[in-house]
């Protein structure tokens, strides 16, 4: 049986079929039967198509993380499944990849922005200093804010696409596999 899971683990980073629209067919609810599973209706697969602002496809995807399913034997409640997944090495890896990007990112842009506003208010003399023609330090700093915002947006989208998406998708699949028998076909 070729599952979503196996396929996403398969290694190739070519463009996945771009399923843009949710087709009302959650893999967990198609449930029984391989027929339903072989169709990749999972909207999560829109993912690996690159969007505007994530232009380059040169970067290699991050190495896959270990499966949470291996460590997830023996849960008897849905809540326990989430606890197990949360404690699994796979999830911790995804979480730390997310935090390792987002926390420094926050520190950088927040310091840069607050520094900019405070400097503008506290040291207008510095901001007034001319650089070239009519352009002064203040103009450059303002444009710099625009530039860093665009740059960080691009970097975040790229990082998430290459370093997190695949692993998160696997984890999502594993978690739903683990909870399905416990929910008794509810989902």
């Amino acid at each position: 049986m070729r599952s979503n899971h196996d396929r996403s683990r398969g290694g190739g980073d070519g463009p996945e079929s771009s399923v843009e629209k949710y087709q009302g067919c959650d893999p967990a609810s198609t449930g029984a039967g391989a027929a339903g599973r072989a169709e990749y209706d999972d909207p999560w697969y829109d993912a690996l198509a690159s969007g505007w602002g994530e232009l380059d496809g040169t970067g290699a995807p991050a190495p896959v993380v270990p499966s949470a399913r291996r460590e997830g034997e023996g849960a008897d409640r849905v809540a326990d499944v989430y606890l197990q997944v949360q404690r699994s090495a796979a999830f911790r890896e995804v979480r730390s990849r997310y935090r390792r990007f987002v926390v420094p990112g926050l520190v950088i842009f927040f310091t840069w922005y607050v520094g900019y506003v405070v400097t503008a208010q506290a040291a207008p003399g510095l901001m007034e200093r001319p650089v070239a023609g009519a352009v002064n330090v203040a103009m450059l700093a303002g444009l710099g804010q625009f530039l860093t915002t665009f740059l960080l947006t691009w970097a975040y989208a790229r990082h998430a696409r290459l370093r997190r998406d695949r692993a998160a998708l696997d984890l999502r699949w594993d978690t739903q596999e683990l909870t399905r028998p416990l929910r008794g076909g509810e989902r």
Binding site: D46, E128, P130, A134, G142, T153
Partner: protein, 530 residues
Amino acid sequence: MSGHHQMPALLLFGVFVAITLAITTWVSRDRHGSAEEFYAGGRLFSPMENGFAIAGDYMSAASFLGVTGLIALFGYDGILYVVGFLVAWLVVLFFVAELVRNCGRFTLADVVAARMSERRVRIAVGTSSVTVSVLYLVAQMVGAGSLVALLFGGTSTAARAWTVVVVGALMVIYVALGGMRATTWIQIVKAVLLLGGTVALTAALLVRFHGDVDALLRTAAGRSGHGDAFLAPGLKYGGDWTARIDFVSLGLALVLGTAGLPHILSRFYTVPTARAARRSVVWSVWLIGGFYLMTIALGFGAAAVVGPDAVRASNEAGNTAVPLLAQRLGGGADTTGGTVLFAMVAAIAFATILAVVAGITLAASAAVAHDLYPSLRRRGRKARSEVGVARAAAVGVGVVAIALGLLVRDLNVAFLVGLAFAVSASANLPVLVYTLFWRGFTTRGAVWAVYGGLVPALGLVLLSPVVSGSPGSLFPAVDFQYFPLQNPGLVSVPLGFLAGWLGTVTSSEGPDETKYAETEVRSLTGAGAV
């Protein structure tokens, strides 16, 4: 401004209203009346569509007319405003868009209630969401009222009142009949119109200066009468230290407030996945960033081409800078080109107000029908259908917004927008951040975080120079001014975070570990997301 501009502008605006009403009827022709449809448009929008809709929700008339006017009159200080509006999207992109899409269903309270005891949290978060929405809504309504007076010269009270009523009635029709799907399409149409108009004006401006930005800046600085100081901060927000700290407070509110605005949060539920939510934010960052870069050019362009004196003569706050610039670029007041461009800008400004107002009304009605009504409904009473309640709530919110819009129509629009951002940053952001990232967060912490930000934010404004104690305030006769800043953000945002922490460490019951595990796993992987 003379009255002969009135007809083309009204005509263009009428076309916009007709098109959007047609869209509303079209998209609601085969709706099923489910909550999913009404609040989230069936979650079927593509990232690009949603990106345009987010941009349409966000690029308000305050930016288009207000900020350009600010730049035309005070030069660089207007840019400080714009930068805050844009940088805020990094907070949304990094911490909110994907996680909220994965964790919630329709409203902000859904995210928080997923790991807390539901009723108290829903009441608290629902209350703050409605407060923020109504503040923002009133700002837009007041803006609509002054816009008609400015553009059509009819400064009569009746004309302004009627504008507020008509805008309010239209927005109620869009929202109550079309729900999220109609609202989204209106945002998209408006975003395209606004961006198209801005691109056309910027291109015309650059052609006039032969593409020489340096010459544009020099001419603007020269005509302003301030020389090089026009191109550096300090003309408006300089002066005493209170004013400067006030601006820092506003900057903080702008950057942190966007991530808590209910109508922005609800936009992430209209796409199928978290990844689509991320891609819509990427789209909107490019669109909004490009738009703001052009507004900067237009602001300096208005200073250079029209001149600050002419701008000020038309409107003291500078709100007519862009329409005046359009008129000049088209050939002048009495030429066809000038009249057409002026009418175009006026119609776009109206479309903008209408679209933004519809988006906020929908978010407010969702908070009432999805969070407040089920939690406050008396037990035993028959439950009504949620979408029915939401439609009624849209009408109710519309009526309240019209009434408040008529009542406070002399209040400064920029201040009202700043206040909405400050309340959002102090009451909504702390609870959202703690819910998503703090393992030990408890129900009491959540409730305290909301009220601990909401009450100080509103209270400090009551005690600020805006309400009393200075000639420009709401009640100049009395004086209960104890807080010097106009924007409470600098104090109330930390208070919101502090209250959330305090409520958590003092609560008798511990956090629910398993529910946090579910929230964390869901937020980062999307397992179990709707």
